[in-house]
């Protein structure tokens, strides 16, 4: 059993949320009795952006609450969707009268709980709309599954829709640009070592010492294949290859590149991955407009990496560059 820096498994999420707010007390606040982080001084007179999901993916989502990105984030139990009443509380707290856009990652529980919350909010006269992010190319056969999962590409939705809302756009236009991001963002991840949920005695899955899993989900759900450990460059070729093949690219296209650590990967290794990704994209004639290397969408202490590409047009570039308080998205 892996050791953990915790007090009590039942209180991990609440204590974490308190700690997040204490790290930026001038900018963030917690809603009493709920594990919800909102921008201090909410609501603001603009379209509000709300996201959330199970905990264990930090800095997602609470770490992206701030000017230029999210207005509120609901933290569910580890790897478990928050309940509709919690999502509803967040919506009420940030609605400034111009409507609320929910950014949902495509998991059955998340979609249902957020939809119920939206119905509750609508019943109270709050205008709510939603987008569902499904950037994980590892789930191919969406006809026989719940569809592709929402993973690290979600951060680009937060950033770009957040910038649009901050600029004063109407709810319909914020939704439209969020959907444009979703249509153009793709991710694939892999794991070297699994993670353990604080309340569980065992890891969520097991990997042999010489084994890795390609296409892994951020809760340790099965990927596309288990294979022998490969060199960093080969792993990047595999992941990036699937990501590039999934939407048509032409020479000279601009992209944002995200090399995302799963929680237990040294930055040193992430920079190795970034180096190879740059080589591959250059060979293909795809132009990297902006690079993000670090931890954005983690899976507790899972070791591994995911690679995300967002194909950019002029509008997306401008919104990606728009100012934000969130340091790792500047």
């Amino acid at each position: 059993m892996k050791k953990k820096l915790i007090n009590n498994p039942e209180e991990v999420v609440e204590e974490m949320v308190e700690g997040i707010v204490m790290a930026a007390p001038d900018k963030l606040e917690k809603i009493e009795d709920y594990n919800i982080v909102i921008r201090k001084g909410s609501p603001n007179e603009k379209v509000a952006l709300v996201s959330g999901g199970g905990s264990g993916h930090e800095p997602t989502h609470a770490g992206f609450v701030g000017k230029g990105m999210l207005d509120g984030a609901i933290a569910g139990d580890v790897f478990t969707s928050p309940t509709p009443d919690a999502v509803f509380e967040a919506i009420k707290a940030v609605d400034g009268g111009k409507g609320v856009l929910l950014v949902i990652k495509n998991y059955t529980g998340d979609v249902m709980n957020f939809e119920m919350a939206a119905e509750m909010a609508e019943a109270e006269g709050i205008e709510v709309d939603q987008v569902v992010v499904n950037d994980d190319v590892a789930v191919e056969d969406s006809l026989y599954t719940t569809g592709r999962r929402g993973v690290a590409g979600t951060i680009f939705v937060h950033k770009i829709a957040g910038a649009k809302a901050e600029a004063g756009a109407e709810l319909a236009d914020v939704k439209k640009v969020a959907e444009k991001v979703i249509a153009n963002v793709r991710t694939k991840g892999m794991a070297l070592y699994p993670c353990r949920v604080p309340a569980a005695d065992e890891s969520t899955f097991t990997l042999e010492e010489d084994e890795i899993e390609l296409g892994i989900g951020i809760h340790g759900e099965p990927g596309t294949e288990r294979t022998e450990l490969m060199k960093a460059d080969e792993i990047v070729d595999e992941l990036l290859g699937s990501v590039i093949d999934d939407i048509p690219y032409e020479e000279g296209d601009d992209v944002a590149l995200m090399i995302n650590g799963m929680g237990g990967t040294p930055l040193m290794e992430l920079f190795l991955a970034n180096r190879r990704a740059n080589q591959v994209l250059e060979e293909k004639g795809i132009n990297i407009y902006k690079t993000f290397v670090g931890e954005y969408m983690t899976s507790l202490e899972m070791a591994g990496v995911s690679i995300t590409l967002l194909k950019l047009d002029e509008e997306l570039k401008e919104l990606l560059d728009a100012p934000t308080e969130i340091n790792i998205m500047k």
Binding site: G76, D77, F79, T80, S81, P82, T83, P84, D85, A86, Y107, T108, G109, M112, N113, E115, M116, V139, D141, Y144, T145, T146, R149, A200, T204, G217, H219, E221, P222
Partner: protein, 205 residues
């Protein structure tokens, strides 16, 4: 009549709580291993809420069950069972249940679950237990069965439906990511639905 309903719900809660480990084991095989934990968390809270006050109508009682499950269970089961009970609360009578009212209760539960989960029969979900159970009640009505016979049949069909999920491939929910690897395991949601139906039937007659 609310006293009897309260008794039935309490019994359902006990059965779910007793089966916490079993449901979690089933979920560990094809899901994320928390179905028993989340469901017993929800039904423990339901027991607390029922204990705390008297309810004037079945509608009020069942609505409390629904809202409690929605706000405590989490995951997909909370909204699914919560919506089912919420739908039932809108139509449940205070009089003794006859076959017609039981059919209406069953149909409104199915409608709630389908609205939320967008699943059909055969996708390895709780609907594979509940739909055959409701269909059985309808058949009994057509055949002119008495209520005792109808409930006996209903329980048998629910069990059959639950067991049929073993051979199914999941196409909804987290188990669907396993593809063919989901075959050979009984669905945890279909199992908790069977436990609920079985308990209600046993308590009614």
């Amino acid at each position: 009549m609310t006293e009897k309903s309260k008794e039935i719900i309490n019994k359902v809660a006990d059965v779910i709580i007793e089966n916490k480990k079993y449901l979690t084991e089933l979920d560990s095989a094809i899901g994320d291993g928390d179905h028993g934990i989340n469901m017993s968390k929800g039904f423990n809270k339901v027991k607390e809420k029922l204990e705390a006050k008297d309810y004037e109508s079945n509608k009020e009682l069942i609505k409390t069950v629904a809202m409690t499950l929605i706000s405590t269970v989490g995951g997909a089961s909370g909204p699914l069972y919560g919506t089912a009970f919420l739908n039932i609360s809108k139509i449940i009578p205070d009089a003794d249940f006859d076959l017609d009212s039981l059919i209406e209760i069953g149909e409104s539960a199915v409608a709630g679950i389908q609205k939320r989960g967008k699943a059909e029969q055969g996708e390895k979900t709780m609907l594979d237990t509940i739909i055959p159970a409701v269909n059985s009640l309808k058949e009994s009505k057509e055949n002119g069965d008495n209520i005792e016979e109808a409930l006996k049949q209903c329980k048998a069909k629910a069990e059959e439906g639950m067991k049929a999920t073993i051979d199914m491939q999941a196409t909804k929910g987290r188990a669907s990511y396993l593809g063919k690897r989901s075959i050979g395991h009984q669905d945890p949601g279909a199992t908790s639905s069977y436990l609920i139906i079985k308990t209600v039937v046993d308590e009614l007659y």
